[in-house]
Amino acid sequence: MSQRPVTIAFDVMGGDHGPLEIVRGAAQLTLDTPHIHALLVGDRALIDQALSQVKHHAERVAVHHAADFVGMHEKPNAALESKPDCSVMVAARLVREGEADAMVSAGNTGAGVLACARNFSLIPGVRRAALATVYPTAVGRGEKNDPFSLILDVGATVDASADDLVAFAIMGSAYARIISKNEHPTVALLSNGTEAQKGPARVVEANQKLQHIAGLRFIGNVEGVDIPKGTADVVVCDGFVGNVCLKMLEGVSETVIELARYAYKEKLLWRAGLAMLSSGIERIKEVTDWEQYGGAPILGFDRLFIKAHGRSKSRAITNAGKVAARAVSKDLANAIQGMLPKA
């Protein structure tokens, strides 16, 4: 049976590698998946030039011109005020108007979230949106044996209440179920101890409430050390803690790489040891390759926004489009709403 067509709006002007890489990714999407259409938003001349050089299926591509764009280092609020017709804003507007079903951007994260807030509506029962991200873990999960867990919020809502944390848990669970094909994902709260009474009042209260949510596989609290271990499929925290946590995990990874570089230069024996491990390291790199995941979703709005990494190349963009299309086809917003406690 043919699937219903899904249109994904791509903010072509965002990202470190320029429009060509985004256009390439979107073009590949039109070749891989007949039911996904790409709506490319950005400078029409640049898009035309890029598109004319790459294999694509023109029947599944449309272009919408947007003269401005928000730079990676611009302040989101000021940028959107001064450039109401910037590419990310136009893309969000087109999604709101029904010209596209979801949006993908590798540009300025704050501008993307703000563009969503100005154009989309929050799902009834959700007070705040959450930015989710995936993190490589020691164990795989779901039908695809994904070696990633989902962490949310990592920066959209700095100060979250107990009810917000409950909503984040439900949103994360629904997303993991649909995207990772993990039928019963485990959900945990990030705290400073595994006991239910540990942590600030909002975390303790959220823990109490989550125990009574039907259909949610809540396993209690986890500590920071449990994130890379993969103890839970979905880790829930507020945006402040999540962002600090994420940056620290990134810092640790970078330090490990630096140490390996140092060891490589320092001693022949260490170099030989690293060389022997290289195939294993390559394999780890393969299975934890974030590009296969495409990007991080902004959850809580009635429309989906996938925030691709700023340094995304075409493969990551293609995958971000596939993730967005899957979420649309499986009606993620409805799945979330169905699980939320009735007011």
Binding site: D48, S52, H57, E59, R60, A62, V63, H64, H65, E99
Partner: protein, 341 residues
């Protein structure tokens, strides 16, 4: 057409390739080649919209359909039957006599396309009225854009004899055949008949790959695009384009999204079709019952208009440049001899 009816003088000639232009053919592997060779007429599939487009182009009664295909002459019966099944009437069907090439030990001629198609086109042109204009249809699998462009420029005398010589040598055409082509060319009265060369993007080659051939060559992703351009060129009327569109919708799953995207793709490439949306609107609002099935009209018009508005200002069309055939010699070589890109 009724044979007793007086035939109108030929005003237009439509030249078509068959495999990958009219027919959906896979012969990239030996297995596919064998399967294609043994397919019966009813098993062969036409590319969506191709038959409808040909029928509409032939409707005025003052055109000629000339088919030149690289398929072997042994397939004449099955191909003729297939075209008949599709309601396509042709005036010429030239197939490649590879058995003769084999017997004569002309193995290069078995592979080559330039040495086969160019003389056939010139020979057909020699029989055509000087004032008859031409539209050519090929694909991106072989050297159609190159051969058709060279043919057009040879008839118009825009290319010199030494250049033609070098091209034919690069295409591995035997020297006696080169002499024959040159002789044939010189006998054709000078004219500039070729209006458009449509290249069906069977392999989804990026359109920019054909930019060297100028605006006359139009790469297309489907035959709705060809119909739109031909409406702009006044070879078709708006109701005729709508009939091609209806066939695509009814038989091949095309919808508003794919049709409006196809329309916008042509606009982005600078094809002069901005006015055709209005012509289609008028035709849709007409009384013809056949168009009831593509209603509601406002949705169709809104979809097309949105795609126009979404683009902002239209950039100026590309400047005309003569084709430098010597820099494109690789396109003339048999596929197996092309440089890797």
């Amino acid at each position: 057409m009724n044979e007793l009816e007086p035939k109108l003088p030929v005003r237009r000639i439509y030249r078509w390739d068959l495999d990958k232009t009219y027919l959906q053919t896979d012969f990239d592997t030996f297995r596919q080649l064998v399967r294609t060779a043994f397919q019966k007429a009813h098993e062969k599939k036409a590319i969506p919209g191709a038959a409808a487009l040909i029928r509409e182009l032939r409707a005025s009664g003052d055109s000629r359909l000339c088919i030149v295909s690289g398929s072997p002459t042994q397939m004449r019966t099955v191909l003729t039957e297939k075209l008949k099944l599709d309601g396509v009437e042709f005036d010429e069907l030239v197939l490649k006599d590879n058995l003769r090439n084999l017997v004569r030990g002309r193995f290069k001629a078995m592979r080559g396309q330039v040495g086969y198609k160019l003389p056939v086109l010139l020979e057909s042109r020699a029989r055509a009225p000087v004032e008859a204009e031409e539209v050519l249809f090929g694909d991106d699998a072989e050297a159609d854009a190159f051969i058709y462009s060279l043919y057009a420029d040879m008839v118009a005398h825009r290319v010199s004899e030494p250049v033609v010589h070098r091209v034919l040598e690069a295409a591995e055409v035997y020297s006696d055949d080169i002499e024959r082509v040159i002789k044939q060319w010189k006998e054709i009265p000078q004219a500039d008949p070729v209006r458009r060369i449509f290249i069906n993007l069977d392999r989804l080659t990026p359109p920019a790959a054909f930019a060297h051939y100028g605006a006359r060559v139009v790469p297309i992703f489907n035959y709705f695009q060809a119909a739109l351009v031909l409406l702009g060129d006044k070879h078709l009327t708006a109701p005729q384009v709508l009939r091609v569109m209806i066939e695509l919708v009814q038989t091949s799953g095309y919808n508003l999204l794919t049709l409006s995207n196809s329309f916008q793709d042509l606009l982005r490439r600078g094809l002069p079709i901005a006015g055709v949306a209005e012509a289609l609107l008028e035709a849709l609002q007409g009384p013809a019952a056949v168009f009831q099935m593509v209603r509601p009209v406002p949705d169709i018009i809104a979809a097309f208009s949105k795609r126009v508005v979404a683009l902002g200002a239209q950039p100026p069309p590309p400047k005309h440049r003569d084709i430098d055939y010597l820099s494109l010699l690789d396109d003339a070589r048999p596929r197996t001899h092309k440089k890797r890109r």
